[in-house]
């Protein structure tokens, strides 16, 4: 029971710190209202073109130089990133520069001198790493973000081997909750969408309270075509949230984490840096000492590793911006129309084959089986501006890597094929977690976004499903009916649905791993 309270507290504390941090900083240093006039968005070269290939090789060369330099002068990478982020308002770095700095942070391998881990971990007789988290404090179990986000390419998902064991006893994987790292697919768009949904729901609540005017009333809340249940207000003006579905009483949609425990990339990254790397951001430190951050004697160094100021706010913002500007995935049936030579002497050449028909039938089944009830295919984002602390608002449509948001006048905004309703659902006892995460009930999980899923195996929150069939079989609770419907299909009908799902892919990019 104690542990449950702890993890709930972590989310609350981090959230509080973020709010407090925002207010404080706004009073001191106001973020500039706009980016420097000379800033241009990053060039959107063909991701499989020669320019992209050259850039990938240059990137690899820079990475190698950076690594060698870091070996020579420990701490140089983070010093470099901090220097890049400096600059007077109006003449500071462009969004693209900030995102580039964030990309370096994402793959940076932290050392103890950088603030990795805690004193406790560094002095532990079983080594500095802890494969299973200990309570809300976490590991650390690794040294970089990129180490667990690689499947399907950079910023991708994690393999089953990368599972985190949250809120455990520091020793037994079975004591914690296994969590498979999720692919970081267009997280900026996700945050923006969630914010719009929250705004809609809160507006409906305010309208309800105002219109009730002392009478008992109720109304169904909905946003972007998704129903979030019933909100009631009684004669005294008290709001009753018990009829809500899939969202917290505060009507803030939290789209990050398997359980839907974080509303913003910033709070999500704050927690991830702490629990997986033992790197303490300003936001975490400002939340004060506790189970989540540690109780060292110096409040500026709660994990007592002798390193203060491990991850100042500008770094967190850069990391956030890097993630926020990652590209959208694609929905694209495979058409094998190019004559490919055989890969090897004894193998047959891939024959020209179109999967378009299977794709089309699979799409029909996706809807007919009820998958689309929760995995809502399309949502329309109205406003592509994303706010990241310390920086001017970012126009995702302009700054994102391609494929980027595209405005569709007929849709009234920027349609995205996200395959989630941004709601939590009861996935049944078979999927119940051992611990509460962010106060979310053990059987509730946020509908995972299926976009890009072809490149993110294994599936499910604990990565136990190596393929699509295993993933569907893992659906229970509210997903049980659709699972049963799928299992009743003929083999070729199942194949069509799988072809459709495997067409939800990341946009291919050339990289040097």
């Amino acid at each position: 029971m104690r542990k449950r309270r702890r993890s709930t507290m972590l989310a609350a504390l981090v959230a509080a710190a973020m709010v407090a941090g925002c207010g404080r900083r706004e009073a001191e240093v106001r973020a500039p209202d706009s980016w420097p006039a000379a800033c241009m968005p990053r060039p959107r070269a063909d991701a499989l073109g020669l320019d992209a290939a050259r850039e990938a090789l240059r990137d690899a060369a820079r990475r190698h130089e950076r690594r060698v330099r870091e070996a020579a002068f420990p701490g140089s990478t983070l010093r470099d990133v901090r220097a890049r982020l400096e600059g007077a308002p109006g003449s500071g770095p462009c969004a693209a520069d900030v995102a580039e700095a964030g990309a370096i942070l994402f793959e940076h391998e932290f050392s103890f001198a950088d603030g990795l881990g805690s004193r406790e971990a560094a002095n532990s007789p079983v080594g500095p790493f802890r494969r299973v988290h200990e309570g809300a404090f976490g590991g650390p179990e690794t040294i970089s973000c990129a180490s667990c986000h690689w499947v399907g390419g950079p910023n991708g998902a994690g393999a089953e081997t990368d599972n985190a064991y949250l809120s455990g006893d520091g020793d037994r994987p079975g004591s914690g909750d296994a969590r498979n790292p999720q692919a970081l697919v267009a997280p900026g768009v996700v945050e923006a969408l969630a914010r719009e949904i929250s705004r809609d729901l809160q507006r409906q609540r305010d309208d309800l309270v105002r219109e009730a005017g002392g009478a008992a009333r109720e109304r169904r809340l909905s946003s972007k075509g998704v129903d979030f249940g019933v909100l009631r207000v009684d004669a005294k003006g008290q709001v009753d949230a018990s009829g809500l579905e899939g969202v917290d009483p505060d009507l803030v949609v939290k789209p990050f984490g398997w359980k839907g425990s974080h509303a913003t990339l910033a709070t999500f990254s704050t927690e991830a840096l702490q629990v997986h790397l033992g790197v303490q951001s300003d936001a975490l430190v400002q939340a004060g000492p506790g189970d989540a951050s540690g109780r060292g004697p110096d409040p500026a160094d709660p994990d007592a590793d002798g390193k203060k100021d491990e991850f100042p706010a500008p770094l967190l913002s850069a990391l956030t911006l890097h993630l926020a500007l990652l590209e959208l995935p694609v929905v694209e049936p495979l058409v094998q129309d190019r004559a490919l030579p055989p890969a090897a002497s004894a193998l047959l050449a891939p024959t020209p084959t179109s999967f378009v028909d299977d794709f089309a039938r699979g799409r029909g089944r996706f809807h007919a089986l009820g998958c689309a009830n929760c995995h809502t295919p399309r949502m329309v984002l109205e406003d592509p501006l994303l706010r990241v602390e310390g920086f001017p608002p970012v126009d995702l449509a302009r700054e994102m890597r391609a494929p980027a948001l595209q405005r569709d006048a007929a849709a009234g905004g920027y349609p995205v094929w996200v395959f989630s309703d941004f709601k939590r659902h009861d996935m049944g006892p078979a999927n119940a977690a051992h611990h509460l995460q962010g106060g979310v009930e053990s059987r509730l999980y946020l509908t995972p976004r299926l976009w890009g899923m072809a490149d993110s195996a294994p599936y499910l929150h604990d990565g136990r499903a190596p393929g699509i069939d295993h993933a569907i079989a893992g659906h229970d609770g509210e997903g049980a009916a659709s699972r049963a419907a799928y299992e009743a299909l003929a083999p070729e009908e199942k194949g069509e649905l799988r072809v459709y799902l495997m067409s939800l892919r990341r946009a291919p990019r050339v990289v040097v791993p």
């Binding site: 060369a61 070996a71 494969r131 990368d162 002497s345 193998l347 194949g495 069509e496």
Partner: protein, 512 residues
């Protein structure tokens, strides 16, 4: 070929910001100018275009294969499988072995392929047998679906990350009960297996010579054991033909050099692959299955079922010996790591001093920079009793390869692996919880350092996040070299780390 547009003006615009950032990176009075990021050398356009086309083609094939598999399950496994029967009737080429082995290496095995043990009934939670992150004694996990899921860092066939450590020989539940192992990268393993074989032969020849000399001279002969310049202690031969091996060092008493595993417990890629498939994926090879049947192997680590399904997952013949041949043939064709000196002139200068310091302070006495390989031919089917499938590890498959020493056909090859392929005592702090078979707890094989740069964190259990930590944690036989490093001033230490961080792999384009 897709078209692309260029944005030279934009690149120029962003240059000042980058240079400004990099300009601050000159601590310790290193005055050399920093190369602008845009000036870094990359291959010429023709090479880039060729690499790109290869990468895009590979991706198209993978897309196609996995889409076929989505429509008709089993297609992928089929494409990733060559059985003994295929080898006999289809005579696949060396390139085929590479392509198929590549697919097999990243194929996520599923319960229906024999992944795991004791398949449970279909149901929401039980459809897939649970992963077992902490191994249960010699039975292992399974802790992974695919080989590539612990060999991805720094690129395909790379090392494992810290989160991907294997928790070997545990109690199945507690991480603390386990012997932690960080997966090493897999490049250049073909030459390593062959080096070890040649060294074993040299040691055997030494013993034979001693025995002969003792018989001929009717006197006790103490024979130093040396292979490729590395000393493995000595043996004493007596005129009656007996051998006293008490003086043997760094290798098993049978004098077989075993270069695989952190402790050096396997001598062939084939044995290593077979063992890994069992421990990490719960896949039982046909050879083991038949050995269980004829009682020549203890079935306990594999399960309690009947011989034809000893792991009780309703799948028999999970790994055909042809599949092992395929993976061995694939691994033997992988590229060799390369040394990539930094391009910045100041760092390059440090690199050069670091290289000589590596020898001077004693690192090179165990991490021997070069071993010479005489015969680059590896039989991927060795041990199967089937027709040989010979890979030339200096020529076949992916480049770069180990380089020839001379320009003649009988030249030896220079394997720059930075290891003596010998076991050493590294002191109590690094010791395993227990001995591994006959290998004492504190003994480890000298880890080859080639390709080191992309493999952080370091050491057998990944406890060292940085090169400095890794060096500082050396003990036992390496204590003197460690102390020599720690006694250096910081710029001198830095030079050594720069050299080590330059032991890398060739950058290659991929479309993941």
């Amino acid at each position: 070929m897709r078209r692309h547009s260029t944005f030279p003006a934009l690149a120029a615009l962003r240059l000042p910001a980058l240079a400004r950032g990099l300009g601050l990176l000159l601590p310790l009075g290193l005055a050399a100018p920093v190369a602008g990021a845009e000036e870094l050398r990359i291959p010429d356009d023709a090479t880039v275009a060729e690499q790109l086309e290869k990468a895009v083609d590979l991706r198209r094939r993978e897309d196609y294969d996995r889409m076929l598999d989505a429509r008709d399950p089993g297609e992928l496994a089929e494409h990733a499988t060559l059985t003994d029967v295929d080898f006999e009737h289809r005579h696949p080429g060396i390139d085929t072995l590479f392509v198929v082995g590549d697919e097999l290496f990243s194929y996520p095995f599923r319960p229906e392929n024999g992944w795991g043990r004791q398949r449970s009934a279909t149901g929401p939670a039980g459809y897939t047998p649970p992963l077992r992150r902490v191994h249960d004694g010699r039975s292992g996990g399974p802790d992974a679906f695919a080989c590539s899921n612990c060999h991805s860092k720094g690129g395909p066939d790379g090392a494992g990350t810290q989160s991907q450590v294997a928790l070997l020989r545990g109690d199945g539940a507690s991480a603390r009960s386990a012997d932690v192992r960080n997966a090493p990268h897999l490049l250049g393993l073909g030459p390593v297996e062959l080096l070890a074989r040649e060294m074993s032969a040299e040691l055997a020849a030494g013993v034979a010579a001693a025995r002969e000399k003792a018989a001929a001279t009717r006197a006790r002969v103490e024979q130093p054991l040396v292979a490729k310049g590395v000393s493995f202690g000595s043996v004493v031969a007596t005129p009656d033909g007996r051998i006293d091996d008490a003086g043997v060092r760094g290798v098993d008493r049978d004098l077989v050099v075993r270069p695989f595993g952190w402790k050096g417990h396997q001598s062939t890629l084939r044995a290593m692959v077979e063992e890994s498939l069992h421990l990490h994926q719960g896949l039982v090879s046909k050879r083991i299955q038949l050995a269980v049947q004829d009682g020549s192997v203890d079935p306990a680590p594999y399960g309690r079922g009947p011989w034809y399904d000893v792991d009780e997952d309703n799948v028999s013949l999970e790994i055909d010996s042809g599949m092992l041949t395929t993976v061995v043939g694939y691994l033997a064709q992988l590229e060799a790591p390369v040394v990539r000196p930094p391009q910045d002139p100041g760092l390059l200068d440090l690199f050069a001093t670091g290289r000589t310091r590596f020898d001077a302070i004693g690192c090179a006495s165990c991490h021997v920079p070069v071993l010479e390989l005489a015969d680059p031919r590896l039989d991927a089917a060795a041990g199967t009793g089937r027709e040989a499938f010979v890979i030339d590890v200096a020529r076949d498959g992916d480049g770069p390869k180990v380089e020839p020493k001379y320009a003649n056909p009988s030249t030896p090859f220079l394997v720059r692996l930075f290891s003596d392929l010998k076991r050493h005592d590294l002191g109590p702090a690094l010791a395993s919880p227990a001995a591994e078979g006959s290998i004492p707890a504190a003994e480890f094989l000298t880890r080859p350092l080639w390709g080191l740069a992309e493999t952080a964190p370091y050491l057998h259990d990944g406890r060292a996040p940085t090169l400095h930590d890794a060096i500082a944690m050396h003990g036992g036989e390496a204590a003197a070299a460690r102390d020599a490093y720690l006694a250096l001033d910081e710029p001198a230490r830095a030079s050594l780390r720069v050299f080590l961080a330059s032991l890398s792999r060739q950058p290659k384009l991929f479309v993941p």
